[in-house]
Symmetry: C2
Subunit: 192 residues, 2 copies
């Protein structure tokens, strides 16, 4: 029967299109639907059959970004072990989605007062809880609010993704640089 074939093929194509679109829109956030389609190797008509308009595409990208963030949070086990190790795991797990996240981070301003951001709210809460745990355990300083630390994590991820894309930093250093700066800061310390 053709029903199963239809579903499976659409699913893999849909995911491929989303990945390609994310990669393109990360570099050029004003890319045309035609450019997105050509980058994915499909026609504009097919792109429109899968995503009814640019809005739907960005929404799907947002859903993908939320799903990847949740998956990264699950894989990072933010409640286990020292908080600093959990932050390290989180950034490592979230690295593959950094480009997509950077795009969504700058694009989210357009979705003011929408409903989907409750997904982001939940992610914010989980990350903030991680920082709060680190503060309670005495690992993290308490004069920087969890909300700001979360925001800074997003900003550093976006900067890192952008810097890697521009060739200013090596991709292999991505996680290290973000973790070290976010946790350790730029100042040189006596005791490591």
């Amino acid at each position: 029967m053709s029903h199963m074939g239809y579903c499976c093929l659409m699913a893999v194509d849909r995911d491929h299109v989303l990945r390609t679109a994310a990669a393109l829109l990360t570099r050029k956030s004003t890319a045309t639907m035609d450019e997105v389609a050509r980058a994915a190797g499909i026609s504009r008509a097919t792109l429109h059959r899968q995503f009814a308009g640019r809005d739907a595409l960005v929404r799907a990208l947002e859903a993908l970004g939320i799903a990847e963030c949740e998956a990264a949070l699950d894989a990072a086990r933010p409640d286990e072990g020292p908080a600093r190790d959990a932050v390290h795991r989180l950034i490592r797990e979230i690295e593959p989605a950094a480009g997509l996240l950077a795009f969504l981070y700058t694009e989210n301003q357009l979705f003011e007062g929408e409903e989907q951001n409750q997904g982001w709210t939940r992610i914010d809460e989980r990350i903030e809880a991680l920082f709060r745990r680190g503060q309670r355990s005495g690992e993290f300083r308490i004069d920087l609010s969890p909300a700001w630390l979360t925001e800074a994590l997003y900003g550093l991820m976006a900067s890192g993704a952008w810097a890697v894309g521009e060739g200013r930093v090596a991709p292999k250093d991505f996680t290290y640089m973000i973790v070290e700066l976010l946790l350790g800061g730029a100042l040189r310390r006596e005791e490591p």
Copy 2:
């Protein structure tokens, strides 16, 4: 003669329009020329007489951002005293322009391969030189490249401006949070 009056009035209006446009575009980067005009309290026609199109407006905003960054760098005296104090002064001086910088930071991707970015190159070099000086003096760690520290500074500034705009952090904490995170990191230390 009307020539002087023409110049002076245009100059102050132009600056006011730029400030308003910067504030608006920071919140809504896709704002229409009409919205920009109304936000500035002028008509679309007058806006068009001052800036021949959206492109010219963004270019002018970029020039303004570059000028403010240069001025902040000059005022911060990046070559004097401990590097960490110079970084603190730099962030404090650059704070009023943070919103504009955040907008340009996300918009700059559109100006790939243009000529104006040589202004940014010069600013990058000055900031990188500051971090390099801190590394040579032993104040800053050497495993984080000056390029990355500069990029991180931009990212934290953008995050801070965005967070303040969203009300997630208090405006008065802006400089402190950025300086402390960038230099000190999130980890709690024994010796301050």
